[in-house]
């Protein structure tokens, strides 16, 4: 934790910490909306969006057809006009269907227009392997996204970081690829009460290495 010192703590799963981050940002900014497959009526394929449709309504929490390229592109277009979409990919394996939208549209629009457009979008969802899902559902994508200029890539290792980083990602003015670990949604950790964010791009040294410096828990 870099921005909190003496906050009261309580134990949350990563899933619920992410849910709190989404709820707080939906509450704070009417331009934020959540869009993706099963995020609304079904309460989220991994229950990250549990209760959000009941609380914020179908205008802010939007179920989509299974058409990742289409709804990612809708999010990017909406972001070009100043909205702050959070696009949930049911898993990042399926985001490959939207990779053209992410790489050619989200990442490059600012450059090609010499800064006329920002694309303040978050594309988030589970990444990496899970249990016995074979090859199409088990890919870890962070290194791919990190190689495309224009994208900000964020991941985390614990519930407190998950919440603070997602809130920062939603407020960030460039497209953020926010990678959650499918295996670790149920991991519990201590999370501060109240409002906090964690700045992107600042390493949190969880345990100094004896040989080379390493920054665990966050990438950009």
């Amino acid at each position: 934790m870099t921005t909190q010192t003496q906050a009261a703590m309580r134990e949350l799963t990563i899933r619920d910490a992410l849910n709190e981050a989404l709820a707080e940002e939906l509450e704070r900014d009417p331009n934020v909306f959540l869009m993706g497959e099963e995020v609304g009526d079904y309460d989220g394929a991994y229950k990250v969006s549990r209760g959000l449709m009941d609380r914020f309504g179908a205008k802010r929490v939007i179920d989509t057809p299974i058409a990742e390229g289409g709804f990612a592109g809708v999010g990017i277009g909406a972001a070009m006009l100043g909205l702050r979409p959070v696009i949930e990919m049911m898993t990042f394996n399926f985001a490959l269907q939207a990779i053209d939208q992410i790489v050619n549209n989200a990442a490059k629009m600012r450059l090609m227009s010499a800064g006329e457009y920002n694309v303040p979008i978050v594309i988030r969802g589970p990444n990496g392997p899970a249990h016995m899902l074979s090859a199409q559902h088990s890919q870890a994508m962070e290194s791919l996204y990190a190689h495309w200029p224009g994208l900000v890539v964020v991941t985390f290792s614990n519930a407190a970081d998950a919440k603070g980083l997602l809130k920062s990602a939603i407020r960030h003015n460039d497209p953020v690829i926010f990678l959650e670990s499918e295996y670790n949604y149920g991991d519990k950790g201590m999370v501060p009460e109240g409002e906090y964010t964690i700045p992107l791009g600042v390493g949190d040294i969880k345990r100094p290495a004896r040989t080379s410096p390493s920054s665990l828990g966050r990438r950009w």
Binding site: S113, V152, L200, G203
Partner: protein, 355 residues
């Protein structure tokens, strides 16, 4: 109903889901038509100049000209409100001009100069004027259609009554991104008009090799959209009337799929000699389907202009384009040290946080 076009396309049109639009709408006032004629002339002369500059190697990259299709850009802009959004393909110079980008900024962008509307970062295919709701200028076929749906989504989300017009070519119709965008527009009742500018060639591949259904408005039914066909896209009045109808429909949250049949008189790009049609075919098209000479003929017949007026207008436009080209050429190329300036709005430096 506009006049029938000689075309190899089979028209299996069913009036249930769509209709042909034409000159049954209100007639445009003559001063407005003269203004539109001048806009088309400006587009034509800018395109001709850009072809010259390309041949002189002052423009590099790809260059796709709009010559022959001018009535669509001008008719669309005239039918829309300034607050309505326009997004199109890489064949974008005409839309840049009608949406307020100066000829110097258009030519300068193609030449990679500072004066360019994107300071030379976008080039011919990526022109933008966000202040006047022209959102590009996109180079991946079909991939801009979901962005267009996103603009329409944003308008509806924000409670605005703005319409988005998303243009694409017949070559983009088989692409999946277009269909996903159409389906989302139908599911969410988005205020959007997709306009297919059907010039019958996907680069150099003819329509019947690329599209299973040649009457593109038939696809509207599959997405709960209204279909509107304009058989003669060189008829400025018909284009204006049909897009006016379409925009009114979309403003009531009923998305529209339009097909406007048109002709590009040049190849797909400067590197395309267009061997897929004969010289005679092209000459015939230029005689019968040139939107500029057709509109001038109408103004002539209605007594609003004569040959001398047209010549004077053309000379004025040519002088404007000469001056714009000179201004663009005099503008410097961007400083190489600025190459990374627009990659991030908020750069995050590893280990150091924000710059």
């Amino acid at each position: 109903m506009t006049s029938a076009v000689e075309t190899p396309m089979k028209n299996s049109h069913d009036d249930a889901g769509s209709r042909a639009a034409g000159s049954d709408g209100g007639r445009l006032a003559l001063p407005r038509l003269k203004k539109m004629l001048r806009e088309m002339l400006l587009i034509r002369r800018v395109e001709e100049r850009s072809a010259q500059l390309y041949q002189q190697r002052k423009i590099a990259g790809f260059l796709h000209l709009y010559i022959g299709q001018e009535a669509i850009a001008v008719g669309a802009n005239e039918a829309l409100r300034p607050t309505d959004h326009i997004i199109t393909t890489y064949r974008d110079h005409a839309f840049a001009l009608v949406r307020g980008i100066s000829a110097a900024a258009v030519l300068g962008e193609m030449m990679g100069r500072e004066i360019g509307c994107a300071k030379g970062r976008g080039g011919s295919m990526h022109m933008f004027n966000k202040a006047q709701n022209f959102h590009g200028g996109h180079g991946i076929i079909g991939a801009h259609c979901p962005l267009g749906a996103g603009f329409a989504f944003a308008s509806k989300y924000q409670g605005k009554k703005d319409v988005t017009v998303c243009l694409l070519g017949d070559g983009a119709v088989p692409n999946g991104a277009f269909h996903e965008a159409c389906n989302l527009a139908g599911v969410w009742s988005l205020p959007i008009v997709f306009i297919i500018e059907n010039n019958e060639y996907a680069m150099g591949t003819p329509l019947h090799k690329t599209n299973a259904v040649l009457d593109m408005t038939l696809r509207a039914q599959g997405y709960n959209m209204k279909g509107i066909l304009v058989e003669d896209g060189s008829d400025t009045q018909a284009v204006f009337d049909a897009i006016s109808d379409a925009a009114a429909t979309a403003r009531d949250f009923k998305p529209v799929l339009m097909e406007i049949r048109t002709n590009r008189f040049r190849g797909h790009s400067m590197s395309d000699p267009a061997k897929y049609r004969t010289k005679e075919q092209l000459e015939e098209l230029k005689k019968s389907k040139d939107p500029i000479s057709r509109l001038f003929t109408r103004l002539l017949e209605e007594g609003a202009m004569d040959d001398d007026d047209f010549k004077a207008m053309d000379e004025e436009v040519k002088a404007e384009v000469d001056a714009a080209a000179a201004e663009a050429e005099a503008s410097p190329q961007p400083d190489p040290s600025t190459v990374g300036d627009y990659v991030y709005s908020d750069p995050v430096i590893p280990g150091k946080g924000r710059r």
